[in-house]
């Protein structure tokens, strides 16, 4: 288990005063202080870690957020910002002495501008909610994390969320124009706007992916894009991970960048097929899901070229979707992969390292060896085009030894990712989960440089303190 910071006794001692103070700042239903009602907020997508916070507050406006932060800053109380609580790295895990600031009531879309191709939304709008609001005009918001039905744009900004279509459309950071933030002192600052490339320091870029360490995001200006004329997926199954990896290299080398290029190994194929009945080949060791966009003729052209490339690698299966329904089924399997693994194992840890794609065969072989050595099953799902791995380690949470082995196994995978030239996290964030591994990727001077940036925004280290940086500060 990863250590949690020592609670500030001073904060705990004045809990009643903090609750009363917050009740003066937001409407009464916006303060949740009863332990039984706070249980909803005790964990996030990293469900092995739980902690009921001191109190939960649910602001409805930027001004309320500003008043809350000014008050808590004055009181020296820690703060944990929270969106939908879907973080897989424990980014929204509360602390015993902290106030959770939940953004779910700030869920309005404030402006949609098709001429300028942007929308202004509050932080608590769901990812899919943006696309749903603009799809009648054929537009969409590009980043599509698997949790997109639930996760909120404020959380996406803080974790710089990705998705299956990053290869073509980029991650959250590449799809933002502006933010409204509240600093720890309660100052409201507008960053960027409907225009591109603010002069001066790239605050937008720095805040994106900052995991709640620097400020609270209350509004987001996103780019909205016109969708393609159409899209179609195909499946290619191969006899080994090596061959599938070589095929991915060959596709990229040919000059084709598919909008999505997903890789599953055999355990993942079986889990997803049992769940989605997408027609995945159960005899394949590795499966690629490849999607292209454009008119039907353009799709045919690109899929034809990709099929020709795949044929050079002796595919076991090569199947192009013939209908929108079939494409949907193919994606249902992939997007439901986490749930599918959940059906065959009581619990799993979802890892998120990135590797140079050329290292894929080596890394998958080593993961298999580690899996055998520790006696835990693993299913690998992988954004193949950009090297972002998602090994799902299956364990039993009722068995502390099993959980311990799963955490060690996961850490070993991430160390391997760094060793081969990659990184600890491609899109899930460091959070609590990978906090103590930061020293594997960064040296002391580099970590201190990052800490000093944190201090420039939050000198008292009140914002989401127990995440990202290995603990130095204790109460």
């Amino acid at each position: 288990m990863i250590a949690q910071p020592v609670p500030k006794a001073a904060s705990l001692a004045k809990r009643d005063a903090i609750v009363a103070g917050l009740r003066r700042l937001v409407r009464d239903s916006g303060v949740i202080a009863e332990p039984i009602r706070m249980k909803t907020y005790e964990t996030d997508g990293l469900a092995a870690y739980r902690q009921v916070p001191m109190v939960v507050v649910l602001p409805e406006t930027t001004e309320e957020v500003a008043r809350i932060l000014a008050f808590l800053h004055q009181e020296g109380v820690r703060i944990v910002p929270r969106g939908a609580g879907t973080s897989l790295s424990g980014g929204a895990l509360p602390m015993e002495d902290a106030v959770v600031v939940g953004m779910m009531r700030m869920n309005r879309i404030l402006d949609i501008d098709y001429d300028d191709r942007c929308a202004v939304v509050q932080a608590g709008v769901t990812n899919i909610g943006i696309t749903q609001a603009v799809q009648e005009r054929g537009f969409f918001y590009a980043p599509d994390p698997s949790s997109q039905l639930a996760c909120m744009i404020g959380g996406n900004v803080n974790m710089n969320s990705g998705g299956a279509h990053c290869l073509r459309y980029g991650v959250t950071a590449n799809n933002l124009l502006g933010l409204k933030i509240v600093t720890i002192e309660g100052e409201v600052i507008d960053i960027g706007g409907a225009h591109m490339d603010a002069a001066g320091y790239d605050w937008l870029g720095l805040l994106t992916g900052s995991e709640g360490q620097l400020a609270i995001v209350t509004e987001v200006t996103v780019r909205i894009l016109r969708g393609p004329e159409g899209a179609r997926a195909m499946l290619a199954g191969f006899a080994s991970n090596e061959v599938a990896g070589a095929c991915v290299d060959a596709i990229i080398s040919s000059g084709i960048i598919p909008v999505a290029l997903e890789f599953m190994d055999k355990p993942a194929i079986h889990a997803c097929e049992a769940f989605a009945h997408a027609g995945y080949p159960l005899d394949a060791e590795a499966l690629l899901i490849i999607e292209v966009e454009g008119s039907v003729a353009e799709q045919d052209h690109l899929l034809g070229r990709i099929k020709d490339i795949c044929r050079e690698y002796d595919p076991i299966t090569l199947r192009v979707s013939e209908s929108a329904e079939e494409s949907l089924a193919i994606w249902k399997g992939r997007k439901g992969a986490f749930g599918a693994v959940g059906r065959i194992s009581p619990d799993y840890l979802c890892m998120d390292g990135t590797i140079p794609t050329g290292q894929l065969p080596l890394v998958l072989r080593r993961i298999r060896e580690m899996s055998d050595a520790c006696g835990l099953q693993v299913a690998n799902i992988f954004h193949a085009g950009d090297g972002n791995l998602h090994p799902l380690i299956m364990f039993d949470a009722n068995d502390p030894d099993s959980f311990h082995r799963a955490e060690v196994f996961g850490a070993d995978i991430l160390k391997l990712c760094v060793e081969v030239g990659g990184c600890l996290t491609g899109e899930h964030g460091v959070g609590v989960e990978k906090r103590d591994l930061m020293g594997v990727q960064f040296n002391a001077a580099e970590l201190d440089q990052q800490r000093r940036i944190k201090s420039a925004f939050d000198p008292g280290w009140l914002l989401n303190t127990n995440k990202v940086f290995p603990l130095l500060h204790t109460a």
Partner: protein, 405 residues
């Protein structure tokens, strides 16, 4: 000072006690505020491509490597730099080799393009330079070597120092090595060219083009006088409004035809072929129509629909020569080198909720005015603390972006 390697650079910065003017080959010295420093430090000797991994879509080079070398390496692999970085050496009068002050001017470097976050026409569809910087090695003002990001395409490990350093104009750290994402270069280009539109009609047409499903990768409008200065466009006669498509040959033929049909309501359109498209967009990228203009040159970034109003305001205020890129969102303007004209630019940008940069101007003016918009007090305070977090003694390019920072 021209350190031969990163270690020597770190030694220099550790030992330094006075302000240092940081640069690459000096092609952008005329941008932003002049730096008051007795010493200069150039990354021009830190050269060479250190990683070329076309299958992984990344390329790394030391900061002083000429951009042209990197473009050539990418081209050998059938790839290109996504943000289409411009070359402003003609605009800024810094075409090398020539000597300006203590500096021998050379070709622009990857470090310079990254430190200034300069992006070309493709920015409107594919993102800025900062969107494709995957990793950086740099030396901060305390002389510590800092790595940020890495060599993989998806990386959210820790704070995104790559983006913070990109566009920081050498004020936080001196970059020594940069890793960028590259993508396959398009097989073909074509441009749908509408003629004779006024600025408002033009931006409406460009909005329709950028809002179409055809992946438009460039969207510009040039009034007649500006178009006449680009040989690839001059023959069209009059104002031109351009929408570029870059893709496989089959897609370019199909999409440019469809786009021309979709835009038929805006008038008759020509389709420029691959060669004419290359020439026209290179000229737009480098602001070639403004090279011969005397005085100041500004880059104004606003919401695209506000572009025509900004242009009209500046035309009325000081007879600005101007054109628009990024679908109307980037207004290029040239005008007299005085504070009144500069104030008009700042007011017009502010009125539209946008931002500006004084890209070219005489040194006394650049020293006297805010060359980019001042930040709100709360943000300016954070900026000072972030500057101190990298450069505690304030020795790196002091005052380059904002006076006193």
């Amino acid at each position: 000072m021209i350190p031969r390697d990163e270690a020597e650079l770190a030694d220099i910065l550790r030992a330094a006690s006075e302000p240092i003017s940081v640069r690459g080959n000096g092609t952008k010295l005329g941008m932003l505020r002049p730096v008051q420093a007795a010493a200069t430090l150039s990354t021009s000797a830190l050269t060479g491509i250190t990683l070329s991994a076309p299958k992984e879509l990344v390329l790394s080079a030391r900061a002083g490597t000429p951009l042209a070398e990197i473009e050539a390496e990418a081209a050998r692999n059938g790839q290109h730099i996504i943000a289409e970085p411009p070359d402003f050496s003609a605009l800024l009068g810094t075409i090398g080799p020539q000597i300006i002050g203590p500096q021998t001017i050379g070709p622009q470097t990857i470090g310079g393009v990254t430190a200034t976050n300069l992006s070309g026409p493709r920015r409107v569809a594919w993102g800025a330079m900062r969107d494709h910087v995957m990793g950086v090695r740099a030396v901060n003002g305390a002389g510590e070597i800092i790595r940020a990001g890495g060599r993989v395409l998806k990386n959210v490990t820790g704070l995104d120092i790559c983006k913070l350093l990109t566009g920081s104009h050498g004020t936080l750290a001196v970059m020594t090595e940069i890793t960028i994402k590259v993508l396959p270069a398009p097989e073909r280009r074509a441009t749908v060219a509408l003629m004779g539109l006024d600025p408002k009609q033009a931006v409406a047409a460009l909005s329709a083009a950028l809002g179409s499903p055809y992946s438009v990768s460039g969207a510009a409008h040039l009034p007649a006088a500006m178009a006449a200065r680009i040989p690839a466009l001059a023959w069209l006669g009059g104002a031109v409004t351009l929408a570029r498509i870059e893709d496989f040959a089959l897609s370019v033929a199909y999409r440019s035809g469809r786009l021309r049909a979709d835009l038929a309501g805006f008038g008759v359109a020509e389709i420029l072929d691959d060669g004419a498209s290359r020439a026209a967009w290179a000229a737009i990228r480098d602001a070639a129509p403004l090279v011969g203009e005397p005085g100041c040159v500004w880059r104004i970034s606003v919401r695209p629909s506000a572009g025509p109003a900004v242009a009209a305001t500046l035309e009325a205020a000081f007879g600005a020569a101007w054109f628009m890129d990024w679908g109307g969102g980037l207004v290029w303007a040239a005008g007299p080198a005085d504070e009144a004209a500069h104030a008009a630019v700042a007011d017009a940008a502010r009125a539209s909720g946008g931002t500006w940069m004084l890209l070219r101007g005489p040194e006394p003016l650049r020293a006297a005015v805010a060359v980019v918009p001042p930040e709100a007090p709360a943000l300016a305070a954070i900026a000072r603390r972030v500057k101190a977090a990298f450069d505690p003694r304030g020795i790196l390019n002091p005052g380059r972006i904002h006076a006193g920072l």
